[in-house]
């Protein structure tokens, strides 16, 4: 069939099963918007900022596992999208972003709204394309989706000059991709898995170290089975929360900079790290030379470049986590003695009893940790939580009872403030029947706060729980610990009226200073079909603990003060 390039884009999106596109129009992409106007194969959500469009597509992808799609214009539209691309890239999120470009006749002339999108996005995309021929467009779109979702997933940019979206040509969407130079998706080798299985059987203190790759590969069931079968204790990274489920007795918790005591001690003392889709990020390992000092390492990863990048690996397994874990289960079945690691688990249970994840509650002021725990009690399983970046993010990670993967959506690798609200919109579009809550800070929420308008217009009622400490709290915490309380540019006590701000955008706002108000407001917010701001005044100087200072060793944590009952403390 003959059609123009703009129609080809729409046809390709429909063929890929795309239901929702997040975007923002402008000159160079107008042909495509004209085609969108004439079609009804997918819905388009007009965010109020391109960064938010990309985060929304990202949130949609994280919640569903499908490829998220965003669309932007050239120049500033594209540059606004870059933070979104980088955020998705760092967390390996499957996404296709389509950008308009100046017509080919103007390429390279510093034309109006011309910017080298392919050049700028090269380091923050898995791959990118500048389309130079209408006849290549169907193939490129097909390849973009294929590359985004296969192997180690990631965002792909397709930059399309305006003359190409106007040009007419024959369209047939390819059924196959022919990309001989694209890396084959590796399959775990039998002999590698066997070697790992033997190492597990030899180990006295093995530890399953689970990363975001486990979520991406939908390996949760398999990993739970592996843990159950072997009775090996587990720790999760920030990106893996929910994989084991918080009620699982084999889960110690999150490890790393703000991991709990038992998890970090387990990592310090294990003799066999079984890494499943984790990548030994510096926020997890602390000082590398001290990391897993007594351990051999099994490393399962779909990306060969992750293996041996930071630590020396004894048993590399290159392949999909789920497949590899299923092979491990087969290898261990009937061979592993579940009593084998009893002593090890007992040691860890004692560590956990010594310093459980705890905080000192208060009757005078709301503690941020209390908010998260209460949220867990009130909405728990049926909610999906997104987050921004800072203390609130860490408290959510530490205290919310995540019990399934894809229930916790946050920017781990790039740490992008402003991610939470637009990501929540993407999540809620995918799961309209779930309660979607963005746990955020009074700093982060103002980055992309314009999305309140989007939420109201499209009736995407997400709830923003603002842990308002009137600080850029996480930075303030570092200033307290490492800069002698010099609070350079972190005091946010000059505040907008958050309640009024929400209301001005046709949402609903709550100012909350007591626990009772919190309960009542949450109940009300869930019942409303409006976007909500729950502005909660929390203890200003609360710190996130435990903490392993940057480049410190995992077993050397700053810990919360523990109550001494003999001194009458509770």
């Amino acid at each position: 069939m003959e059609m123009n390039g703009a129609q080809m884009v729409c046809e390709a999106l429909v063929a890929e099963g795309v239901k929702t596109v997040f975007g923002y129009p402008g000159g160079a992409i107008m042909n495509v918007y004209d085609a969108i106007y004439k079609q009804d194969g997918f819905e388009h959500i007009l965010n109020r900022h391109e960064q938010a469009s990309v985060h929304a597509a990202d949130g949609y992808a994280r919640a569903t596992g499908e490829v998220g799609v965003a669309m932007v214009t050239s120049g500033p539209g594209f540059t606004n999208a870059v933070t979104g691309l980088a955020t998705a890239y760092m967390d390996s999120i499957p996404m296709v972003v389509i950008s308009g470009q100046v017509p080919q006749s103007l390429l390279g002339t510093d034309g109006f709204q011309e910017i080298d999108a392919v050049g700028i996005s090269r380091p923050c995309t898995k791959h990118n394309y500048l389309v130079r021929d209408i006849n290549h467009l169907p193939r490129i779109l097909k390849e973009a989706f294929h590359i985004a979702r296969t192997g180690r997933p990631g965002p792909v940019l397709v930059d399309i000059p305006k003359d190409i979206t106007a040009e007419v040509a024959e369209f047939a969407y390819p059924t196959d991709v022919n990309l001989p130079s694209y890396m084959k998706v590796p399959k775990a080798k039998e002999e590698d898995v066997n070697a790992a299985v033997e190492a597990i059987l030899q180990a006295k203190k093995p530890l399953l170290y689970i990363g975001g790759g486990a979520v991406l590969s939908n390996a949760s069931d398999a990993i739970r089975e592996l843990a159950e079968l072997s009775q090996i204790p587990t720790v999760e990274t920030l990106m893996a929360l929910g994989v084991m489920g918080n009620k699982n007795p084999l889960l110690l918790g999150m490890l790393g900079m703000h991991g709990n005591y038992a998890s970090n001690m387990a990592m310090s003392e294990t003799d066999l790290i079984i890494s499943l889709g984790a990548r030994f990020d510096d926020r997890v390992t602390g000082k590398l030379s001290e990391f897993g000092k007594y351990a051999k390492i099994i490393h399962v990863d779909i990306d060969p470049a992750n293996i041996g990048k930071l630590v020396n690996v004894n048993y590399p397994i290159i392949g999909d986590v789920k497949d590899a874990v299923e092979m491990m289960i087969a290898g261990l079945q009937g061979r592993v003695n579940t009593e084998q690691y009893n002593d090890w688990r007992e040691v860890l249970a004692r560590y956990d009893a010594l310093y459980p994840q705890s905080f000192e509650d208060s009757d005078e002021v709301i503690k941020p940790q209390w908010v998260i725990e209460r949220l867990g009690e009130l909405v728990g399983e049926q909610a999906i939580i997104t987050s921004d970046v800072g203390q609130h993010q860490m408290w959510a990670a530490q205290h919310f009872p995540f019990d399934r993967p894809r229930q916790w959506i946050n920017s781990g690798g790039l740490g992008t403030m402003g991610f939470g609200l637009p990501a929540a919109l993407g999540v809620k579009k995918a799961f309209p029947d779930k309660t979607v809550i963005n746990v955020t800070g009074d700093g982060s929420i103002l980055m992309n706060v314009q999305e309140l308008v989007t939420a109201s217009e499209y009736k995407i009622p997400v709830i923003n729980v603002i842990l308002n400490n009137q600080f850029l709290g996480m930075v303030r915490q570092w200033q307290t610990f490492f800069y002698n309380d010099r609070f350079a540019e972190t005091d946010l006590s000059f505040q907008p009226n958050y309640k009024a701000l929400a209301e001005a955008c046709h949402g609903i706002g709550y100012d909350i200073t007591t626990k009772e108000e919190f309960d009542a407001a949450l109940k009300d917010a869930i019942a409303q079909d409006k976007v909500a701001f729950m502005n909660i005044q929390v203890a200003r100087f609360e710190d996130v603990l435990p903490m392993v200072p940057s480049n410190g060793t995992l077993n050397n944590m700053m810990l919360p003060k523990i109550a001494n009952p003999e001194k009458g403390e509770k």
Binding site: R122, P123, K126, L179, Y182, M183, D303, A305
Partner: protein
Amino acid sequence: MSESRRVISVIVENESSVLSRVSGLFAGRGYNIGTLTVAPIPNSQRSRITIATKGDERTLNQITKQLNKLVPVYEVVEHDEMVEKEMVLVKFPIEESLADIEALCGAYNGTIVNVGVSMFIGMVADEPARVRNFINAAQRYNPIEIVRGGVVAIER
């Protein structure tokens, strides 16, 4: 960890942005580029990029793995048993001894390739270490300009 030198050939799809993908990877991840040459492979849609680099074992491993991840990269060859050549062109003032310099070039697999009114040009193609020696030896003839090419290599 100690640094070692390595020559790698990257076989890539012959497309306009591929060189920037490869060189950008080196720049962004802080890998060293000693020399880089690129040319199409005859009778194919592919090009060969030859890079001389150095780094510790972990870095050299990463270079290969990260290059392999680039979509238009077909193959990365880490040369071990190779024949390796580099070219250099040197412009000398006409006052210098043509015969001496011709003999010098000859000793390094080269020759005089151009003689003009005020200058003449010698060319040498040899192993990188020998090219360095040649350049040292040529210094005493007051070279006006020295243009070195990058390394090309082929497995034995």
